[in-house]
Amino acid sequence: MREKRWTFYAQSAGLGGFYLFTLTVNGWFIWRIRELRDLGDVWIPAAAIGAIVGPLFILFSCILTAIFRAVTLREGPELTSFPQRSAFRPKTTPLEEDLIRPVLSRPTKGFVALVAVLGAVVGVAFLAWTTQFNQGLRVTGLNNPVFWGFYITNFVFFIGISHAGTLISAILRITNAEWRRSITRSAEVITVLVLLFGAVNILLDLGRPDRMFNVFLYGRHQSPLLWDVCSITAYLTASTIYLFIPLIPDIAILRDRTEGWRREFYELLSMGWSGTPGEKKVLEKCIAIMAIVVIPVAISVHTVVSFVFSMTVQPMWHSTIFGPYFVVGAIFSGIAALIIAMSILRRAYHLEEYLKPVHFRNLGILLLAMSCLWFYFTFCEYITTWYGNEPGHMLIFNSKMTGVYWPYFWGMVVTCFVIPFTLLVSPMGKTVLGTTLASIPVCIGMWLERFLIVVPTLVRPRLPYTTGSYTPSWVEISLFAGCLAAFTLLYAVFTKLFPIVSIWEVEEGREHAAKEVSDRIKTYF
């Protein structure tokens, strides 16, 4: 055991807090199942969801415990003799200098200006939110029968973008794609942050946000909204852990290079990492487990989001392919968001050495594949509706193809397929500029797609009521802008607190990966 500073107690308290959270989650499911049985209502959905989510949280607890035991409670000689530099990295490398510079250097004027502008947008959004909180949803453009609009569209859109990180990074880790090393971190941060705003949009949409805890007190597990609550909570927890674990060695590097409050802050988050082989082994094992666990959780999230629509009997919502269709769209928009974020980071922090054209080219190929897959799903979805020719469905189909929503629909086809496809198959698709130019329309197009799923179905009810219409109000627009700005702001702050390209993973890649890969290739033949 090493010297116990306040950070040790704080870390133990954090772990204890997570145990408590796990206990609460499991206890909640058990309590709900009992309550539902007493009510005489169905309890199987609660039991089934609980049987998946409960053990998942226990697994997360085990992973954090393993890291706590291996790192914080490590026996043996003192390597991190505070406040000296720890023994595991006696001297710096040029790579470390490069990647740590954005964190340690003073913010540039451009950065401060960006923060100020984004802060102003968030301020306006906050004003809009207080207006809505005081006056109710009358300040939106929603009406009867268009009860859902911007907020639900943004919810689906943000949750979709969140598939950027964790899923892509997990798949690349599992498949040992060595080029992943410098991009995983920037992807995982997108996931965690954007997921928060997905959840926020649901709260914005509630008529009575003051009663949101009713979901936990009286939850009805038959409702797809409750599936959402369970699955998003699990995903947010999983992706936060998945972001945090590979961050630990980098936090330790920062701890050794900073002074004052920042040092204390990094000391707290580093869990006392000192980089012994034993610690590394446990860390890598935990990362590997999380990479596997996170994939089904991520897929479940967007499937369940699609179920909110497809479980109803409303025309063009009640579709069996919505689950995979949403997941494909999510990964598609996620990759696009990642490419945009990477190209901004590359320019702003001069990371050309680390985010190379090859990364963009590889992601571009993935984007191209997802674009084709997205087109395939869209084609399947629309041709079955058109061929079936049911009047209720055709009303909505026509409103998208030729009716009031034609600019949205054809805009979506152009931005999600025509532009990215042509750009990515052309020689431009191999460049940073080309992939970025292909990604921007994809993000716009995927937002349009979510809008086209939510709104036109509501505008034309099954019975021949007067056709509804929907125009968002300033409140909805500024809250959307506010969410985007707050996301960018938090992302920018993250890059100022932590290295956005994983130092230890790139280092390991440079030192060991070449040999590992060549050894692996030898085993193939």
Partner: protein, 269 residues
């Protein structure tokens, strides 16, 4: 060792199978409802029959309903936004084209489904099917997510976009039996449930069972053409159950399997 592990696994699989077999029957609560069947064994099942042949489209039911149930007047601006709330509305259905167009006028209360799509999706049990077949709404629990409203294929649920307000003179005349809905919750036609309470109290104070006609909704009473009939569908003698089994009877969107308890009688037959 291997044997015991194998048998252990077998036991596990068996018990899991039994668990789910026991559970699937209850999966959507339908069996349970039939078993409990408060309505099935003698209890009433309230229903409505609307004769489209008699309906003149005068909208008296609409006015009576909004008076009875404390519905806000609504301003022209709100009407332009499509935010007027009327639990009973007249739905005009156009049939055929020129030169022989026909217009049907269909009074639309909540269809009071036996298998309501709205209650399954509510995350907080704010909407439910009560023992007498009325689909209820708990305003004080509703979180205002509007999922039930969107799941209703009849578009018969509403949402309170703002805090309720009336012109001063009218605020004095609210119906005290009906709660005024706060802002941000879903609301719907409850078959004038408060009138059922009153009728039950009246009957029990007189020491007699509920008779046909004791419990009538506001729209029924207001209809000058007597196009709307209301009563107990389980009582085979009642007018409403007789009309519901008439050859002219049909339900809206019957193909969805929601089993509405509002029956329409075809016109011109």
């Amino acid at each position: 060792m291997t044997e015991s592990r194998r048998s252990f696994l077998e036991k596990c699989a068996l018990s899991a199978g039994a668990f789910f077999a026991a559970g699937t029957g209850k999966l959507w609560g339908k069996k349970e409802r039939e078993k409990k069947g408060a309505g099935a064994e003698g209890g009433p099942r309230w229903g409505m029959a609307i004769d489209l042949d008699k309906c003149t489209g005068c909208s008296a039911c609409v006015v009576a309903c909004s008076q009875e149930n404390n519905q806000m007047l609504g301003s022209p601006e709100e009407a332009a936004m499509g935010r007027i709330i009327r639990w009973m509305q007249i739905l005009p259905i156009q049939e055929g084209e020129y030169p022989s167009p026909r217009q049907k006028l269909v009074p639309m209360p909540c269809q009071q489904c036996e298998d309501p799509p709205c209650i399954k999706v509510c995350p907080v049990y704010a909407t439910f099917l009560n023992e007498e077949g009325i689909v209820g709404q708990v305003y004080s629990r509703c979180i205002g997510c509007r999922y039930c409203v969107n799941a209703c294929p009849y578009t018969c649920k509403f949402f309170t976009w703002e805090a309720p307000q009336w012109p001063q003179q009218m605020a004095q005349g609210l119906n005290p039996d009906i709660s005024v809905r706060p802002k941000g919750v879903a609301e719907k036609c409850l078959f004038c449930h408060h009138r059922l309470q009153r009728a039950k109290e009246q009957a029990s104070s007189e020491g007699r069972p509920l008779r046909e006609g004791d419990y009538q909704t506001a729209c029924v009473e207001a209809c000058p053409a007597k196009a709307i009939t209301f009563g107990d569908l389980h009582d085979k003698e009642s007018t409403v159950s007789r009309l519901s089994s008439s050859p002219r009877a049909f339900h809206l969107l019957e193909e969805l399997g929601t089993e509405p308890k509002v029956t329409y009688l075809k016109e011109g037959a």
